[in-house]
Symmetry: C2
Subunit: 299 residues, 2 copies
């Protein structure tokens, strides 16, 4: 069984480090797809998947924006996960779950088990409750070649409230990464990279490099590229040089590639598709050029 | 509009401080209800609601144990939420969500909005990402008379990994409570108690009293009573004396009241109902006697 980390890094080497965020924002689903309804969200999500297929290696559906539509919204999430896997895309479910014992097992089963109803390659989790609450996710990941993405440093202003504060001589986020070291090694095994991945937002390149020093073997999920503000160079600051190019994770873009200018006024799904494809290719090219390589689309 | 805090404290005064946890553990749903399937989980959950009605003021469905069944599991959660409200029970959705911006808004809409698909009176949230990530929940709570339950101190062993460590001179969990002070006041308004509630697990009565000092106006959701180990006296250590009785929150019991001894072998739903009723009444009586009052069942 190929590990999550191996699949992700192989995909990033082939197509570039872009992760396409699938965030069905309220009121922004084009009428072309049915608007802001569970069916519209599913159809739009599947169309994003079709545009990303062969042009990016991974998508990241934002679970909360499906959950707001209730059980039917979760059915839409299921359809998007299934469509992604059929299209050869890895799925990183951005659920930010975290709980104790059997409940954590429940979430791990929902996203990472062999018969997961929301079939994903990795899921984001919150470390606040402690390492024992991450354990069920790690076990499920090990058993099924999946990944676990732990929130370490997020990029929102509120990350200063607790994450960036000093916990016994280092920022809390650094203590979280430090405490994860054994789990990072465990999910690395004999591979190049660990299937324990970190959400590594950074306020600047220095902090990104510091995170890389703390966790040399963890792939990073970097938020904040595109609409949220940062450029490619900043987004790649925590990557490392491997064979003359930068690698070490994926960089997420959501709004800039799924709601690009003009995509709300096009009159056909074909025109919409062309706009999304162009936005994904532009982001992939921008990131790949900064990472020192030329992307090769497979689709 | 009556606030969540007012509704909860009125219920606890009338019926006692027990919160009935609805945790559909894998493999433990009796065949009487259809076993461990989405339909079985829904039927079992509705039966727990029927047993709790008039005997407790609040139930707490554990979302992860529904989510493991996928969209149909979330439909079961929806049925349990709706049945609870029809039975006059408050619903505290134990979802432990937390995310930025529109995604947090999505979760808040899913549980706390007027047309919430999982209609609840309050939802549990994780503070790791910072105060800005709690804001959408606070706004939804203010607009609709709902509550927000923030994880402060959990009772699992892993809570020692980060929550209990020293952040600039006080434990992280105390810093979280401290940072919440303005929000606690904001959701208190002119009422007796704030609709910003805290998950207040404690390693002992001293810590519970310390949490109470830090947040005199916040209701506590106390885990760890019953099957998880603590007795009534410990569970109530963070409550305060009001008119000769202890009040200040609710105490959760899940397994001890929903999977009591013998409940897996009874042969009829009527016998099962009698066992659950007896377990709920015993827990309510135990807690109420320690709180210095005699409960009055309304059903």
């Amino acid at each position: 069984m190929t590990s999550f980390a191996s699949r992700l890094i192989a995909g990033a080497r082939q197509l570039g480090p872009l992760c396409v965020g699938i965030d069905p924002h309220p009121g922004r689903i084009p009428d072309l797809f049915g608007g802001d309804t569970p069916e519209g969200v599913a159809a739009w999500g599947e169309a994003v998947v079709a545009a990303a297929a062969g042009r990016a290696c991974v998508v990241k559906p934002q679970v909360g924006l499906f959950e707001r539509h209730g059980p039917d919204g979760m059915r839409a999430l299921q359809r998007v996960c299934e469509a992604s896997r059929e299209a050869g895309l890895l799925v990183l479910a951005d659920a930010k779950r975290g709980d104790i014992g059997t409940t954590a097992r429940g979430y791990a089963a929902a996203y990472l088990s062999e018969a997961a109803p929301f079939p994903s390659d990795a899921v984001t989790v919150n470390p606040y409750m402690g390492l024992d609450t991450l354990e069920p996710f790690l076990e499920e990941a090990e058993a099924n070649g999946k990944g676990v993405v732990v929130l370490a440093r997020t990029s929102n202003p509120g990350s200063a409230d607790f994450q960036a504060r000093d916990l016994e001589g280092a920022p809390l986020y650094a203590r979280v990464v430090e405490a994860l070291a054994p789990a990072i090694q465990r999910l690395k095994g004999a591979g190049e990279w660990s299937s324990l991945m970190l959400v590594a937002g950074a306020t600047g390149p220095d902090e990104a490099r510091q995170l890389r020093q703390l966790a040399p073997d963890a792939l990073f999920l970097v938020p904040g590229y595109g609409a949220q503000g940062g450029g490619a160079e900043d987004a790649l600051a925590g990557f490392k040089a491997v064979s003359n190019r930068l690698e070490g994770g994926v960089v997420n873009a959501s709004r800039s590639v799924t709601f690009p200018a003009g995509s709300d006024t096009v009159e056909s799904q074909a025109d919409w598709h062309a706009l999304i494809v162009a936005a994904i290719e532009a982001a992939q090219t921008d990131l790949s050029m900064h990472a020192g390589r030329v992307p090769v689309a497979s689709g």
